[in-house]
């Protein structure tokens, strides 16, 4: 097989945050030291090679970049300090950008100015929509004076549709490419699917492939932090949905199951995100020593959302009536909508690509290395 070398690809990937990757001379230390690299799923070296050669199709149809948990072992032992771990992270951003058709993600990942401008611009548009779209005014709660409940509802529905279409198209593109590269996956029986689903389920909650020595056992180990955030996310999703379904029948009271679940999940989210921020701030291990703006973006969004969420909870419970609280509601709503709307264009996109990649990985017989590395 002959290939045409495209030297531009590695430059493109570099612009997503792999700034030192040109130092790589392909010694293979990264793949050998990686506790997750095993069997056919060998990375990061091969992924770097594909990038250096410009084999874009091959890269996009592979799942290795999503099998990496960025423990940082490769980066801290790289003889050339080429940052293979950062390269894997950059590769994920690049892939998200490539699967998304508007170019918004690529733009925001590559330039901090663009990321801030995009975030703020979108916030203004959403705030404008919320402040002007007032279909009816029949919800009597004072806190919705500034932004009517129905406006939030309406704008939310529209955004949900937009998101579903955009993200659906990106993810579909990703799945089709993966299946085209591995036609064997289509022939798997339901038993194999069940096993893969089970493995994926365990993996999502426990991140058991995570490097054992990466702060395991300490309160802010990566998997504990991730579990807290994940629980917070799903808990809030369940709480919001049930709240939404039953609100018309029952109204809200703070001690009702949906509200209790929401509060507990919110606390878990805040704890997890705060711990994650702390880890990154301190550069606690090699995996978080270098942070991209998109890492901070997601953490900051989640933290502010959690914080304003509790603020509003308090405002509603204690009947604080200053206009400030309505503005907090506006901020909270705009940021929540932005987070959802940009889910496929920010670091949050990993929530879609990573589980699918892991699923394909388990389905094709890829097992997590059970032997702990000393």
């Amino acid at each position: 097989m002959s290939i045409l070398v495209d030297a531009n690809l590695i430059r493109e990937i570099r612009s997503y945050g792999a700034f030192d990757i040109s130092a790589c001379f392909q010694c293979g230390n990264c793949s050998a030291v990686c506790p997750l690299s095993a069997g056919e799923a060998s990375f990061p070296r091969k992924m770097i090679r594909l990038g250096q050669l410009g084999m874009e199709d091959e890269l996009l149809s592979r799942q290795e970049m999503w099998l990496c948990y960025n423990c940082g072992e490769c980066t801290s032992t790289c003889p050339r300090q080429a940052g293979p771990g950062e390269y894997m992270a950059a590769l994920r951003r690049w892939a998200v950008g490539r699967f998304e058709s508007t170019g918004l993600s690529a733009w925001m990942f590559r330039s901090p100015v663009a990321a801030l401008a995009g975030t703020l611009g979108l916030a203004l548009v959403l705030a404008g929509l919320l402040l002007t779209a007032r279909p009816r005014h029949d919800f009597p709660d004072w806190i919705f004076k500034l932004v009517p409940y129905d406006a939030i509802h309406l704008v939310g529905m529209v955004l949900g549709g937009v998101l579903a279409l955009g993200l659906g198209a990106s993810v579909l593109r990703f799945v089709l490419r993966a299946l085209k590269a591995r036609p064997g996956l289509l022939k798997k029986g339901w038993k194999e699917h069940r096993a893969a689903a089970l493995a994926l389920h365990h993996e999502l909650w426990t991140m058991r492939r995570q490097r054992p020595e990466a702060g395991q056992g300490s309160w802010n180990s990566p998997w504990a932090v991730h579990l807290a955030v994940l629980f917070g996310f799903f808990g809030l999703l369940a709480a919001t949905t049930s709240d939404f379904l039953f609100i018309f029948l029952l109204g809200t009271k703070i001690y009702w199951p949906a509200r209790v679940l929401g509060t507990v999940s919110g606390l878990a989210l805040m704890a997890g995100v705060s711990a994650a921020i702390l880890r990154r701030w301190r550069g606690a291990d090699a995996g978080v020593r270098h942070s991209h703006l998109s890492d901070w973006w997601l953490l900051a969004f989640l933290w502010v959302l959690g914080f304003t969420g509790f603020w509003l909870e308090a405002a509603v419970t204690f009947r604080w009536t200053a206009p400030l609280h309505s503005w907090v509601l506006l901020l909270h709503t705009v940021m929540a909508m932005e987070l959802v709307l940009l889910a496929g264009s920010t670091k949050l996109a990993h929530a879609f690509y990573r589980p699918l990649s892991l699923y394909f990985h388990f389905l094709s017989g890829g097992e997590s290395p059970s032997r702990p590395c000393a």
Binding site: S37, S42, R45, C373
Partner: protein, 434 residues
């Protein structure tokens, strides 16, 4: 100079092969040389080796005559177990402060009979065998050490007095103290050598933790005919190893260790040791895991080609981890660059880490007469392309690995160059234009 200060033409610091050669070259031209060595014997690292590349000459057989020539040369005074404690320029000449460390043995009376060593009941890991063997608390440093003077290790001595009773010349002096002396010289040659990467510098390689992961110097002692075991055995259980692996670049070309440079000799000593091993153990599998083979010197490429032809496996792969199984067999994890390039684990009986060369631990030199170090920590050679033996100070010259990693051949060449530079400097000094 009317006082009792001894005066020499050249002070040579370090009596490894570079310092020995520089001293001989100077002395043969009629110059008075003082050779100072901090170890108890002259000979440096070379006398510690089994054989040398690319000729496979026995290191002892070619180094010992050099050491003897130096020891018997009328123009060379040698001070062993002495350290340079100060160096300053006065009236165009150098004044050095030397600290003679206490041997606890009267050097003038000791006849090297080893009666004390036989009498001593204390066994200590032997530095000369790099921990593979044991020595007594009082001993001659090694068989062909020069001078053949006993040396008492006060850190381990129990003051039992058996040695003093056994000594036929009554030369053991438990009360001996370090003594400083001043000497004067017209020029200085620094041949202070290098250190090796610490075995535990890269914890992933298990050095200093796994019993069957050895340093290259330990491997030399396994191979030396008069070495620790007298044959090739592995330390954990004394079995004959059947599969031996070399991990190249285990201390060089690794920015994560802060050593970006190539140590130049490791490819060659690994190939040499592999050849010697296949001589000692004809049925053993020997593998060298490398990133690149750098065989740069005269006849070196042919030497490596011979090693390949002898059946030594050269595998292009950077080893990432060395662990061990229940029987203390080292397990290396690597990704081959050839074939399908997948991560794999290979079990060996013995693993040697090809450690790199680090600057000789002598940071005080910077305070001495302003001799600067380069960013890599080795002595700076500001005029490297045309006058590599010159340092940042006129009158101070450098030879051997003091200025950077190099092999024995290059060290000897540079020593000759440093000697010639020193003679030229002395001549100009005599003519009043330094």
């Amino acid at each position: 100079m009317a006082n009792a200060t001894l005066s020499y033409d050249v002070l040579v610091v370090g009596a490894g092969i570079a310092g020995l050669q520089a001293s001989l070259d100077l002395a043969d031209q009629g110059r008075k040389v003082l050779l100072v060595e901090k170890q108890p014997s002259i000979g440096g690292r070379m006398i510690n080796l089994s054989k040398v590349f690319p000729t496979l000459d026995c290191a002892s057989c070619i180094t010992t005559p050099r050491m003897a020539s130096v020891a018997h040369h009328p123009n060379i005074d040698t001070r062993t177990f002495a350290e340079l404690k100060g160096l300053r320029r006065e009236d165009g000449r150098f004044r050095a402060t030397l600290r003679q460390k206490a041997r606890f043995v009267d050097g003038a009376r000791c006849i090297g009979c080893r009666s004390c060593e036989e009498a001593c009941p204390v066994l200590v890991p032997d530095e000369y065998e790099h921990g593979l063997g044991a020595r007594k608390a009082i001993r001659i440093p090694f068989t062909n050490a020069i001078p053949q003077l006993a040396l008492l290790d006060m850190d381990h001595c129990t003051l039992c007095g058996l040695c003093a009773r056994a000594c036929p010349t009554d030369c053991i002096d438990f009360l001996q103290k370090d003594a400083d002396t001043e000497v004067e010289a017209g020029a200085v040659i620094l041949a202070t050598g290098h250190e090796l990467t610490r075995m535990d510098a890269k914890p992933h390689y298990g050095g200093a933790r796994l019993p069957n992961v050895l340093s290259p110097m330990q491997a030399e002692r396994l191979l030396a005919p008069h070495g620790a075991y007298g044959r090739v055995l592995r330390p954990s259980d004394g079995r004959i190893p059947d599969s031996i692996a070399y991990v190249q670049c285990a201390g060089s070309r690794d920015r994560s260790l802060g050593v970006p440079y190539c140590s130049r000799v490791c490819c060659m000593f690994a190939a040499k040791q592999a050849m010697l091993l296949s001589g000692s153990l004809p049925t053993a599998d020997i593998t060298i895991y490398y990133m690149d083979i750098r065989a740069f010197g005269k006849g070196y490429e042919q030497f490596v080609a011979n090693a390949r032809a002898m059946g030594i496996h050269f595998v292009k792969a950077k080893v990432a981890r060395v662990t061990e199984d229940a029987d203390h067999n080292p397990v290396v994890r690597l990704e081959r660059q050839e074939d399908r390039g997948l991560p794999e684990e290979v079990t060996h009986d013995l693993v040697v880490l090809s450690l790199g060369m680090l600057p000789g631990a002598d940071p005080v030199l910077e305070d001495f007469a302003g001799v600067r170090a380069a960013p890599d920590g080795f002595l700076e050679s500001p005029q490297a392309p045309l006058a590599p033996a010159r340092t940042s100070q006129p009158g101070v010259f450098a030879a051997g690995t003091a200025t950077g990693p190099k092999d024995i051949v290059d060290s000897i060449t540079e020593a000759g160059s440093a000697a010639m530079e020193a003679v030229g400097f002395l001549r100009r000094l005599g003519e009043g234009r330094p």
